[in-house]
Symmetry: C2
């Protein structure tokens, strides 16, 4: 996985040093927290474990992240930042072909992300561990709403019959596919998801707009 190295979405200041680059220690902490939180769950991973595996001191960690909640927020902020960057890049790559952009969004997901998401969606997983308006649940709602909005926008440009509902359906498929990748042993997950994705799109499109179709066969 290639999350952006910037840990810039934390609750407090990004803590750029005087030289302008973010702290090395902070990056190591965030990298370790990302790995452990995602792979094993948030409550299951203690602060001291992150300290040990990132090779920093307790004081250093608490200087950058005054509480575990702050670290959690930074972890999910990084993840969200990655998703924003990736989705925007794909859509921007096809400024005049929203239909192609939609297909590409699904393709990239299957090609790059499913393999690195063997534990499912970090936002869903985090939300499962907390209640109410905890930062993790807020972050999950936000990123999902944002992605849904971008999908809706693409569908609208395609004169989709119901861009809002269509975007929600695509989100269902996407969400279900990521979860399935984490829990099911489906050798055909990629094809199943891509087919599902295309079917849902085309079902609401005006008759003429032909689908690019599954890459092969």
């Amino acid at each position: 996985m290639t999350l952006p190295a910037r840990g810039s979405v934390g609750p407090s200041t990004p803590t750029p040093t005087a030289t302008g680059q973010t702290s090395k220690a902070r990056e190591r902490i965030l990298l370790t927290a990302d790995r452990l939180f995602y792979d094993e769950g948030i409550h299951a991973v203690g602060i001291q474990r992150i300290i040990a595996e990132s090779g920093v001191t307790r004081v250093t960690l608490y200087r950058h992240f005054p509480s575990k909640d702050d670290l959690i927020a930074a972890y999910l902020g990084r993840r969200a930042s990655y998703d924003h960057t990736q989705v925007d890049a794909i859509i921007d790559a096809y400024p005049d072909d929203p239909r192609r952009a939609l297909t590409e969004l699904a393709t990239v997901l299957t090609r790059d992300d499913f393999a690195a998401m063997r534990r499912g969606c970090p936002f869903i997983n985090a939300s499962a561990e907390f209640t109410g308006a905890h930062a993790s649940r807020v972050a999950a709602k936000e990123i999902r709403r944002w992605v849904t909005g971008r999908l809706e926008e693409l569908l609208r440009r395609l004169d989709h019959r119901d861009p809002r509902g269509g975007a929600e359906k695509l989100m269902m498929a996407r969400t279900g596919a990521v979860v399935s990748g984490a829990l099911d042993d489906n050798r055909h997950l990629n094809e199943d998801f891509l087919e599902c994705w295309e079917q849902l799109i085309d079902a609401g499109l005006p008759a003429d707009a032909s689908a690019p179709g599954p890459t092969s066969a």
Copy 2:
């Protein structure tokens, strides 16, 4: 929610008393554990909390469930038992109309379950908190595999073009809808999901089989 009162899926003997009925205390424990584990997460809820809110003693709890893992397994076992019962009942209600059974599965989900699943899928949530072959992850894989199998069977009886892939797609939609119900604020979730469900089914059916269509409008 109306989970079956029987706490019969635990790892050890169901502990029927001499009179034949399962222990009152055991039921109270399971009921409390279900509520707290589902609403707040498993790691977030301590044993003493369950003891306090179920009104039993530490010794009593540990007599029925020797470890927290046993209690977790029993919690998910109850949930799985409920799903089995419900899905079987719906399918059995339409022995000669698998198409109708499929629609009914989705309808019941939107009518009864979405409201009671404001925290998403208990199996997905539990799986997020543990690693490897923990009982929670095994239970999640099992129930998902079982539901997928039942869906595939219905599609096969309908001469669906790809019963396996079709069932996987329906599971994606179902999973995504449950998660969406927990994290998104979509007032049209029910309609969106039902439409999605029907579209995915019909896309793979031979031309003649007409869909029942959304109940209204």
